[in-house]
Every structure is written in C-alpha cells, then in structure tokens.
Symmetry: C2
Subunit: 341 residues, 2 copies
C-alpha cells in the first residue's frame, strides 16, 4: 500500500487556503489526515475537506508534531516564524509566502519548469509569486529553444491575489458605485472598482514595487539563468480572479510566432488559445477555475531582432498559488522526498 | 471684434460628440452658431450647448453650406464620405476617426507635440487615436532631450472609447453579475465586466490589432520621426473612462528618472503625479474629467542602457478625442487657418 501523509494547511480559511483544500481533494493527494490551521480567531471553525467537515485549529508551536507536510499561505510573517518550527518538528514545508523564496538554501519551484530543484530541499520549499509562475511556465519551453535575453512585462492582476476580503471590497464598491453611492475604501489605498492601481505590494527605494522586484528576482532563480533581464510593471485591475500579462520577449536566436505556437501547444501546463479569426484569446473569465496557463496573441515584435509578444492568463489562486503548491507536494511524493534531511 | 465661427459637430449625440459640445463651451471657443449633426434617427433631438438647447439635424450633402469648421466623430465611414463634402463646401474638418490619419495630405496633430503641422492643412486635419495622443504628449518632451529609440507599451483602455453603448454594457453586465445573473453580451465579443479583453478594433494579418498598428504608425507621424520603434499591446479593461498605459522607453542617450520628472513637471499638457510615499500615481478615476495627461511611476529600467518605465493616464474622451480636437480648432483660430486653401 502506498504511503499516506498527515498534511497541514496553514491559513486554511483564506482564499488560497480554501483553494489548497479543494485541490488536495480534487487531485486525490494521499492525505491520511488534513490538519487545517489558522489564527486563534478561526479555531473551531468547521471547514470542508473532500466532502467531510474538519475543525480548524489554532496555529501554535506544537501544531506540526506528527505532521508530514505543511502547505503555508498565511503571509510572510507567519511563514518566517513557523516554517522553521514545522521543519524542526520533521515536517516538510511548502511555503506560498515571499518569506523564503530568495533564500539560497530554499528551492523555488514550478513543477513544469524546475522539478529537479525539489531534490535539494532542506525542509522548506518556496512557491513563487503568482504573476511569476504563469510567466515562467510559458517562458521555459521557449527559453529552451531560443534563449530569452529580456522580458518586458505589464500585469493585469485580479483582486483575489490580495485575499477574500479584496474580492468582497471589489464587489461592494462596484455595487455602491452602480447605486450612485460613494465607495468605501479599506483593503487598497484607493478605489479598485472601475479603476486601475499601478501599485501591488510595497514601494521600494528605486520606485519599483516589491511585486515588480519579485518578478525580476524569482524569474532568474526558477529558470536558473541570472542573465535573463526582466522589467516589470504590476497593476491591479477590477477583475475578481485570474491574472493577465502582456509579455514582450527578446530572444538570442530567431523564434517565429509559428514555431512558438508549435512549442507552446505541447508544453506542459500550457493551453494555447490563439485564433483571432474566432476572437479566441486568453481571458480571466475563462482561465479562472482552470489549471492551465493560457497563452495567446502570439505575434512577432518587429522592433527587435528576435522579438515576440504574448498574452498570458492563469488562475492566480490555482496555478499562481494553491495548485502549484500541491503539484510540488506531488513531486515530493513521487520522489519520496517528504522527509526533512 | 474677433471673428466667430459656425461650428458643426458631426456625431453630436455620441460620447465624444457630447464631450465636444461641452468642451467648446467650457473653453469659450468663438462659436457664432453650433450645428449639431447626426444620423436621421437623431434629427430633431434637443441637445445642450452652453446652457442653450439646439436641435440635432440630419447629416446630408448640404449640411456644411455656410459652416466654417466641423468636428467629426461619427466613425471612419462617415468621415470618408462626408469630410470631402465639407471641405468642398469651404468648411475645415477636424476628424476624430481613423479615416484620414495616415493620408500624407492630412496633418495628424496633437497641439502640445506638433502644432506646426496645422500650417499645411488642405481642409482636413486628423485627430489621432486616443491611446496614441496621451503617449506622445509624454514622449515628446523626453524625446526632445534624449532621443527615444524604442517603446514597448501595454494599454488598459476604458470602455468609453468604444462609445456610450459600451459604458451602458459595462454597467449592465456588472449589475447582472453582482445580482447572480448571466451577463448579456452585445457590444464586445465577450463579457467586459470583471474581465480583460486583449482585443481592440479588428485583427490584422500579422496577429496584431488595428488599434496596436495605429499606435505604431501614428506615433511616428506625430513625432515626425519614422525611426522610433513601437511595439503595442492594446487591452480593454472594465473601467468606465480614462485610458492607462504602461510605457517602457529606450533612449539613445542617458535619461535619469530625476531628469525625466523635471522635464515632465513643466511639459505642456502633462501633470506629474509621482509620489510613492503618499500612494500618488495616475489612475483613471482621477484623470477622468481632467484635461491633463497624468504621468507617474517614473523609474529606471536597468535592463537596457538608457531605459525608463512610466505609467500614463488620461481622459480618453477629453485629451484622447474631444479636447484634442477643440485644441486643434484653437490653433487654427490663433493662426487664422479656418479656411480651405
């Protein structure tokens, strides 16, 4: 009989935590027991897992005793504090926060891109930023054929990336504005309904945001190629779920749109949706709820020697967060790596 | 006493036509008589101009007899048919459609950028595409100091650019979705509420859209520099009014963010809104209803020798259409050019 695992979900009540529970069940991850963890506020709350009700527990220093694998999605602070606690208790951590991503001792993994990196984990594996994951899933197969030298990316990010309270805020603000009332502002610094905010995560010294810097740094680490240049502009748009990206790529050697489509049509985790004649292109309302990263609007950029423009859309709660984390877990199961070395 | 003019507005009942009437009045354009023109359907409809009611007339072959200046915004077909009729009747045309923009006999003018081009008009002057106007207003002063060699732009375009019926569609779809009903789709090929559509205007052979091609061609013509390379991705977002643009610029010589801010802070028609410390950056809900092109998020792009990223937002009905057309009219008044040569 194959091994089953005690699996904790830290931040089990959040938007990503909920998606983690759903996806663990959907994909029949070998769960012996699910341990949902959250702050004291949520302790005792009944949560669904695979059609059964499990009670949420408070996250404490002893939460990981006897737990084999923990998926964390409760913010960088919680991950910084508790991932080492879990690891020291012999529990392997897959962490969805930004806390450990750039730590050289921590693999940063997208299963379609760098599965081999799980091999050197030391108890903590990081799940990349949502906007980075969908971009590298598409870049990887193209990079393998004609080296990508530079990326200019502009994002159109959904509010679900911020959390369940941001989805509520978009809905409430939209309702109020349509009713002629002034919108209440609480989650974002400005109104998000019927607006665009060029501001995700905090601002850094150089005028970029941390979200933009994540795309720069994480892309290099995941693709294992520090020479790839990335310039990112990250923007929040009034979409409930599903991040979109306008991606401009420069290659070292020729890459025609036809060849790119051929490669992408058989790339793992990628769904090519590219038929202008039938108005077929990726859109958040289509990608939301799906596992694949959608790519379309593949066309030559004639302003550089070897340029390509792409439009990339994925479910940021699934591939951008919970699904990718569960896929990392599946890799660990396959390779019998659910143990702290 | 200074001269006053008989001014026609073709497409007077549309979103841009309405803005043209408002802006002509606001800016006290020397109007002796306003002649609102539209299709037979709207003939007799009472319209507001400067607090007075004027009756809409049907556009016919004789509509321009005795008219000095006509602002057209009724689509390319109407402009192709009627702009020559107006010109032959001795009426100078400022055309907001795409019909005449790339005609070498027709100046394509943004008053802050290439006012000198009105001098050689032959009866028709073209108003550029909305997304191009706001971009060149910002590019021009920077280009003057350190030549811009390449632009990669991704747009976030409001539905008002499509017309009043598209604003209605966004509102109706948002209402229906929030009420749990399926959205009716009529103006766009797909749902626009809570979605992004990487599709504006028709698709061309090379996989780009006509909107994207307009940004490429019109930028070169307005700036009078065919060497500027432009790669554009144009996207419709669920915003009522105000286009946003993520603009990546490459310069021939160094251009620091500090120097760019200095130049932009005193550039005509530009409002620098760039203070991350106070969450100050351009947004559609702020730029809507304003005349200035807002620019912010000015920061270095370290992935090229001389690179800069900018975030540019303007009211697409005003600076992107009606205001720019009225400003061209003002240039013609100043230079006494309201006559067909």
């Amino acid at each position: 009989m194959s091994r089953e695992y005690r699996v904790a979900v830290v931040g089990a009540t959040g938007a990503v935590g909920m998606a983690m529970r759903t996806i663990l069940a959907e994909r029949r991850f070998p769960v012996k027991e699910l341990v949902p963890l959250a702050s004291a506020r949520s302790a005792g709350k009944p949560l669904d897992f695979a059609g059964e009700t499990v009670l949420c527990r408070e996250l404490t220093g002893h939460s990981f005793d006897g737990v084999d694998l923990a998926l964390f999605s409760a913010g960088a602070g919680t991950s910084l504090d508790y991932a080492p606690v879990a690891r020291d208790a012999g529990c392997v951590v897959i962490d969805n926060s930004s806390a450990w991503r750039m730590d050289p001792q921590v693999p940063l993994v997208v299963p379609e891109v760098n599965p081999e990196d799980v091999a050197w984990h030391k108890g903590i594996i990081a799940n990349p930023n949502c906007s980075t994951i969908q971009m590298v899933v598409v870049m990887k197969p193209l990079h393998g054929e004609a080296r990508i030298t530079r990326v200019v990316v502009s994002t159109y990010q959904a509010v679900s990336g911020t959390g369940a309270e941001a989805i509520d805020e978009l809905v409430r603000q939209s309702d109020d504005i349509l009713a002629g009332k002034g919108p209440q502002i609480s989650v974002y610094p400005h109104q998000i309904a019927f607006n665009c905010l060029p501001h995700i995560d905090v601002f850094l010294e150089d005028g970029s945001t941390k979200e933009e810097q994540k795309m720069v740094d994480e892309t290099k680490k995941i693709l294992g190629d520090p020479s790839i240049k990335v310039s990112a502009t990250c923007v929040r748009v009034p979409v409930r779920n599903g991040h979109s990206e306008s991606v401009n790529l420069e290659f070292a050697t020729p890459m025609s749109p036809e060849r790119a489509r051929e490669i992408l049509s058989r790339a793992p985790g990628v769904l090519l949706a590219d038929d202008p004649a039938t108005n077929t292109y990726p859109m958040p309302i289509v990608a939301s709820g799906k596992d694949e990263t959608y790519v379309g609007r593949v066309r030559r950029d004639p302003t550089v020697a070897n340029g390509l423009n792409l439009w990339v859309v994925a479910d940021n709660l699934r591939k951008g967060a919970a699904l990718n984390a569960v896929q990392i877990g599946e890799l660990l199961v396959e390779r019998d790596l659910i143990r702290v070395p």
